[in-house]
Symmetry: C2
Subunit: 233 residues, 2 copies
């Protein structure tokens, strides 16, 4: 408080700003995150979250969406800011703070492809992560925790499914996120009681068993998905 000369970050050493994106999906009954293989040092050839530096003329939200698109070929309509990681030594080479975002996507909706500074892309089981660059393992754990927590009160699971869905598919998503089985009758009563699903009148047969009725998420009944940013592209 005795300092009279203002600290000017534009003429002093200062942190750079990056964004990283944790993209979740569900496939083969597993919760998975999207990883890319880094082209550049530090951590050359290591697995990492898609992400990169924020440019002067774009918002954080835009930067996150752009990096996800560039490095993994994935476009999302919805992103939520997770946390900003700012430990001094989280990047061994230089000072970088990272604003982490997370997003959810229906696995069938896309096929990721490497691009930008990434030489490879893959989906990886959240519980079986390889060694990751920087503090990215910690970031993924934090994101998983937030996802579980969020799934308690927000209809996040709809992001992980196609537009038309069955109640069993929805229940399955919640079971994977929480890692435990749920009672079918209680689940259905609860979800239908929220009045955010409307029956399409159609049904879908999975080959064997009775065909399941299809529902559609009523976005208008639940405008706010709980803190996320809806991007308009």
């Amino acid at each position: 408080m005795t300092e009279r000369v203002p600290y000017d970050p534009f003429s002093n050493p200062h942190p750079a700003v990056a964004v990283d994106v944790i993209l979740f999906t569900i496939a083969d009954g597993e919760l998975r995150v999207l990883l890319i293989r880094r082209e550049l040092p530090p951590f050359e050839d290591a697995w990492a979250l898609p992400g990169g530096f924020v440019r002067a003329d774009e918002s954080l939200d835009e930067a996150a969406a752009r990096e996800l698109d560039e490095e993994a070929g994935v476009s999302v309509r919805w992103l939520e800011q997770l946390y900003t990681f700012g430990a001094v030594d989280r990047d061994p080479a230089r000072r970088v703070i990272s604003v982490a975002y997370f997003a959810l996507i229906d696995a069938l909706e896309l096929s990721p492809r490497a691009g930008g500074d990434a030489t490879d892309v893959r989906w990886c089981n959240v519980r079986r992560l390889p060694k990751l660059a920087f503090d990215h393992k910690q970031i993924v754990r934090y994101a998983h925790q937030r996802l579980r927590y969020k799934a308690e009160y927000a209809p996040v699971a709809f992001q992980l499914l196609p537009k038309d869905l069955t109640l069993s598919e929805l229940q399955h998503v919640y079971e994977v996120i929480h890692g435990k089985a749920l009672d079918k009758r209680n689940f259905r009563r609860k979800v239908l009681g929220l009045e955010i699903l409307e029956p399409t009148g159609e049904s879908r047969s999975e080959g064997r068993g009775r065909p399941a009725a299809l529902y559609r998420f009523r976005r208008d009944r639940f405008r706010d998905l709980g803190g996320g940013v809806v991007l308009e592209f």
Copy 2:
């Protein structure tokens, strides 16, 4: 994804990183935030949240605590990261992203004093804010919302009170945060049922009326205050 030359923030225009702190207290039955009067442009002489640029050798948490101490003479033991604001035009002069933190303090514990880049300090009713610099009004609103939400499940109110407290004082804090009256019996049953309060055996007389029993918050029963960072100074 066709870009081959990596974007290097250290040799290109890039955002600077600041922290801002929303410090809440309760006084005279109002929820208040700490504001400082800016010495420097932009928004010279305007009211704003205490905050400033992050230095290369300190974490975000440390920067938030340092700025609060420098500009307002306030030391806190606990800070929680709120959100990172990154709109391109939030600072009219240059590109700055701001990592917002919030903290709670017992109003009697300190007397803020201006310092650093601040020429004045005051406590201000959350519902009657003056014009604020940058997007700080929006940040305060966001923080207030988070505080209400957080108060539902985390024992945040203890941060706003002295170590020894009465149940009526605690109830009063919750009433101010939520802006509505609570039932005394239900409140007491619920709080005592959490088993995070221990009676000190003492009591305190406020002059008139029956003296109230004093309690102390059992930190060991509730290690995590719900996402915050406990600073060790």
